[in-house]
Symmetry: C2
Amino acid sequence: MADNKIYRASTTAPVNIAVIKYWGKRDPKLNLPTNSSLSVTLSQSDLRTHTTASCSPKYTCDSLLLNGSPQDVSGARTQACFRELRALRKKLEAENFSLPPLSTYPLKIVSENNFPTAAGLASSAAGFAALVRAIANLYELPSTPTELSKIARQGSGSACRSLFGGYVGWDKGTAVDGSDSVAFEVAPASHWPNMRAVILVVSAAKKGVSSTTGMQTTVATSSLFPARANETVPKRMKEMENAIKNKDFETFGKVTMRDSNSFHATCLDTEPPIFYLNDVSRAAIKIVEGINCAAGKTIAAYTFDAGPNAVIYYLEEHENEVAGLFKAMMGEKEGWEGARGKAVQANHEAMSDVEKNAGVAAAMLKEGVSRVILTGVGEGPIKTDKSLIDETGEPVHANNNGA
Amino acid sequence: MADNKIYRASTTAPVNIAVIKYWGKRDPKLNLPTNSSLSVTLSQSDLRTHTTASCSPKYTCDSLLLNGSPQDVSGARTQACFRELRALRKKLEAENFSLPPLSTYPLKIVSENNFPTAAGLASSAAGFAALVRAIANLYELPSTPTELSKIARQGSGSACRSLFGGYVGWDKGTAVDGSDSVAFEVAPASHWPNMRAVILVVSAAKKGVSSTTGMQTTVATSSLFPARANETVPKRMKEMENAIKNKDFETFGKVTMRDSNSFHATCLDTEPPIFYLNDVSRAAIKIVEGINCAAGKTIAAYTFDAGPNAVIYYLEEHENEVAGLFKAMMGEKEGWEGARGKAVQANHEAMSDVEKNAGVAAAMLKEGVSRVILTGVGEGPIKTDKSLIDETGEPVHANNNGA
């Protein structure tokens, strides 16, 4: 009797934004990093990938549909994830003959992001975390998130951190086979739940150097990079873990900004130099400096990934001084319409101070930001019954894309 | 009999633009640097300070007039130069009683630059070199340029390099009193006379962090700075000296660009970060990369001091590919009117290639550059009879300010 069943499992997975940056691979094939890193997992209400993994003897080959477009699955990264997950399933099947041989069936994956791809937010982290988690659910693997993080890492380095919620480290590890280069929970979201973030999405004229290419050029050419990887980051990892454990925003914020600047400094020290920050990014830095100066302490912390978008962390109790200021500055932008955005009161008083001291930066930022995203610390991947593939194996549109 | 004579001596001194940057002091009082540096002295036909030093028992106090405006001479830097030069004169007077006691007379200094101060070109190097050289001439000191460089250094660090023409090093030295922190000639201008430079003066909205403040903040806060000062620069000093000795532009250019990027990387790694490069500077980098890519080798090399202006070095034989391209891009800007600018042929063919590959950068540069300066390697300070002070001790206007 031929098994024509369609097996399905679905999950959502979050985006994470690093406060200690991953930049540089010591092994490009296994995505083993030159330094450890640490991130905050962001709330899936605002930013998430929804993925359904399915397999069936009916399917003719492995496939992946992302936001309605077929993706190439023959790349080494996707293949590595499929191969490792199938190997784990095969082991289960070998131990229990009553299990259906899912490891032998073609996989069909359907994925949707609830955020605009054009925003230039690192979606590959959420994407590979969701893919690995969904297949692990489909295969009913008993693997822990740490074990799965080793697999997701091979899809996209930072994806390993999206398998956990809250505050997440990624240990660079030392083993040649990458077996100890895994993500770990520094603290759950519930430990420090009032961490918020406003993302200023900058309308970039053109995509910069891809991070995969860029980081290896930095490793190969920057004379300052070894000091960052070998000395600066190890010290900051400890400072950051302690700051999170102690809910010490002052240190958290300072180290976050320092590390973002250090990462972009090594990009500039690359040959040829890589620039991800532009004049709009610099204006965001200037405004955050103004906010902290007015507060007399660090209540806002900027960080920039491989692009000009600013992610600004702050605590809920400082919403008025941080998000409120940005709402007063650019309340007309997309992104304030949601429940969370509506709740923020535009802080016109703080804005008039900023215009006095940093009017040029404020004007530059207003002009260069295309939308804002308000979010905060959130949970790791969440299993869902909402399937993006129907009982017959056909993709269904979830109709749940965010604004 | 009271000596009412007015003693006068005049000199001009050049600007220099470093290819290995000075950034960071190990002793802020003596202007002792954390690393050695190396510069090209630029031609005084294009950029120079003209200074007359004078002294007389008639004068009531030390004074300095720069471009017609009285300057404060009570600052520690100017005072250090006056004090050290007077001490050398006093020694001569002690050895030879027939010499008039100039060391006891008040000094009157009159200075004029032939370039717009607003252009943001580091004029303090030419200014202090001219001041020290003019007073040394006035006092008829037998001191060598190297000996005088120790004094000029105390006025403004990079001024020590403007006491020589051609290709000039500044040895950081190790002595606590700064006695071995002096400038030296790597090669005279005549050794490699075809070195040219085009300066793109960027209209900056606002002056950035002063280099004096900025460099000490970098030393205090950048975790990457020690690697630059202790490892990167010593290696590059040797490479650069060899490149100059061998007239090897390929290496000269590559190391120049690397070192500019390394310097600005440590600025970005400073807390709070210092940005001297803006989007217009980045566009200049992009265009130089395009020029070198089209040539299949390094024929143009950008470098940026503590500001957004681009200085682009090239050899005379590549004038068409470098200056000619910029003339085709922005022939309507000020600076092409001089004899040298008129001689450059606008290279419209190269420009149309650039517009295909880097149209956004070309448009950004065209918009953001206010004027160009065409110059090249030049001589050290030159004694002149043209006095900016008349026989009665009154300042005269030289009427020789450049365009």
